[in-house]
Amino acid sequence: MFDIFLLEAVINGILFGGVLALLALGLNLIFGVIDVVWICYAELIMIGMYAVYYLHAVYGWPLWLVFPLCILIVAFLGVLLHQFVIRPVLAAEPINQLLVTGGVLFFLQGVATLAFGVEFKNIGVQLPQIQLGELYLSAARLVAFVVALVSMVGLSLFLKRTYLGTAIRAIAQDRAVMPMMGVNPQRIFLITSALGGALAGLAACLLVLQYDIHPAIGLTFGPVVFLVCVLGGLGNLLGGFAAAFIFAQFISVGGYFFHLEWGYVIAFLFFIAAMFVKPQGLFGAKS
């Protein structure tokens, strides 16, 4: 028997994979270049979502103006994060770099609770459902999926074709040698942080169309994104992209057969099993 709902789950999984892939993209870029995991990445997205909410739903600015602004704001946050939090601990033990952003996670959550309250907020923009025969698909997810693909391609073109992109890749490969070649690593780090922040801002614009905003929203998808990055091999853009779809399929189809939480449990168990088969991530290079 052909199951239309299973097909819907699979397609939703693919679309959800697109969102996860976009989220993983920024994080992977940061890790690949600066060697730091932003544990607070999802909280930056949360701040971006609030920015959209306030500018659009409260102050009534049009969305075409609000979305670019949101991207700029979060990109700026990324720069601040690097300059004031990451930079002082760049020489410290690697695990301190991970933990310091954990402090930022609590800080941003606290700021959001303090400034915006704990109530769920919605920008009140609802994209329609798309009907394909008996299938119902969310247009918001479809848009997110397309944007994720476009930004993936855009980012790789930027990294491959431009001078700045080449410098970023070079720093990622050898941090010690590049200063001798006339590249200022600190500048590259700041640019990368801005880029990572911008990607978080972009993700915020897409997520705000699908989810209600609240201060703890980062915790609902943050852990999943880290696992996607590790599964794909930390710092590996393409690997993270592929892993996002695998992960999303487990969540979506597992959630269809059992319950949404079980979908996550199955995906996490798969993650742990995968780590034991390939500790450097499914697509990671052998180091």
Binding site: P88, I95, L105, F106, L114, G222, P223, V265
Partner: protein, 329 residues
């Protein structure tokens, strides 16, 4: 100086006789309880094994015991060993492959983070049994009595104070035992340079696994005590990434290289939250979390060895300066 700790313990043991009232005593109990849990984390954390998965062990301790009691009528005296076995098994299932395949640093932190999220998700998903996000309460055995040893429920805070004090002291004893063992020296070597350690005949996997199981069991016991003392648990407070990070930060803030460092961290974080709440009232949400996060960032940047670590360093520096001064005179 040798008798100083004993005087400290004796002074602590007298606290219930001071007539402090229930609320301060409650705070002291929480400090000792979380101090015990943070100490459990730091037993492995200070050796370079930064686990973000201890929320899972805390959750196993809290939920297994309460579920056994609520659904099967099994006393915590039976439930606790079951929880300990489960925690040890989980620690092995995660630890063995991790250590075998040399998953360290970021990767270890993130794999263990998956573990604590799995624990939280399983608790939420089993909502018919566990009550899901709403949490669970052990069925009370205190309806017509003020204490029940079989149910491990006591209405008196004084009783709880002594129970938690005993476990806290036991935790410090475990720390000391580990600290003075050859295993600690070997593990420190491993955390510096794993391959070199292995090459001189240190059994890396076995040592790491042993210390992980010790740490997991301590955390699990902490979960049992927490559930029995608070008589209310929910998936967010005993499992997941939030409480896992909280343990790491508690240990770091106090100073995880000193025996009572994690306890100092627990006192510091709890007092911070309480002082803020008293100063600002219940209405201002988020300020405590914000300051907590800010302080953690500052700690990791400026005081990575924690309060006690920094104090010890300052003390040594002054000491040395004083000595140099005497010599030059």
């Amino acid at each position: 100086m040798r008798w100083l700790p004993w005087i400290g313990v004796a002074a602590l043991a007298l606290i219930p006789f001071l007539g402090l009232g229930n609320y301060p005593l409650h705070l002291i109990i929480l400090c000792l309880l979380w101090g015990f849990i943070y100490t459990g984390w730091a037993v492995m954390g200070r050796l370079g094994l930064t686990s973000l998965g201890h929320g899972a062990f805390l959750g196993i301790g809290a939920y297994v015991v309460v579920m056994c009691w609520n659904h099967f009528g099994l006393s915590p005296w039976i439930g606790t060993p079951i929880a300990l076995v489960v925690a040890a098994l989980v620690a092995c299932i995660i630890g063995y492959p991790c250590f075998r395949l040399k998953i360290v640093g970021h990767y270890f932190a993130l794999v263990t983070m998956a573990l604590s999220e799995i624990a939280r998700m399983v608790i939420v998903a089993l909502r018919d049994q566990t009550g899901g996000s709403l949490g669970a309460t052990p069925q009370t055995a205190l309806a017509d009595t003020s204490w029940s040893i079989a149910a491990l429920q006591f209405s008196s805070k004084t009783v709880w104070f002594y129970i938690v004090l005993a476990f806290w002291l036991a935790g410090l004893w475990v720390w000391t035992r580990v600290d003075r063992s050859m295993a600690r020296i070997a593990l420190e070597a491993i955390s510096q340079e794993e391959d070199a350690a292995a090459s001189i005949g240190i059994s890396v996997t076995r040592l790491k696994l042993t210390i992980t199981i010790i740490s997991a069991l301590m955390t699990c016991v902490g979960g049992v005590l927490y559930a029995q003392y608070q008589l209310y648990i929910n998936p967010e407070t005993v499992s997941g990434i939030g409480v896992s990070l909280q343990m790491v930060f508690g240990a770091i803030a106090g100073g995880m290289y000193v025996r009572i460092g994690p306890t100092v961290g627990a006192v510091f974080t709890l007092l911070l939250a309480e002082v803020l709440r008293l100063a600002l009232g219940h209405d201002i949400h988020g300020l405590d979390t914000m300051l907590y996060g800010l302080l953690l960032v500052l700690f990791i940047i400026f005081m990575p060895k924690g309060i006690l670590g920094a104090a010890a360093q300052a003390w040594q520096r002054r000491h040395r300066a004083a000595r140099t001064a005497t010599v030059s005179n």
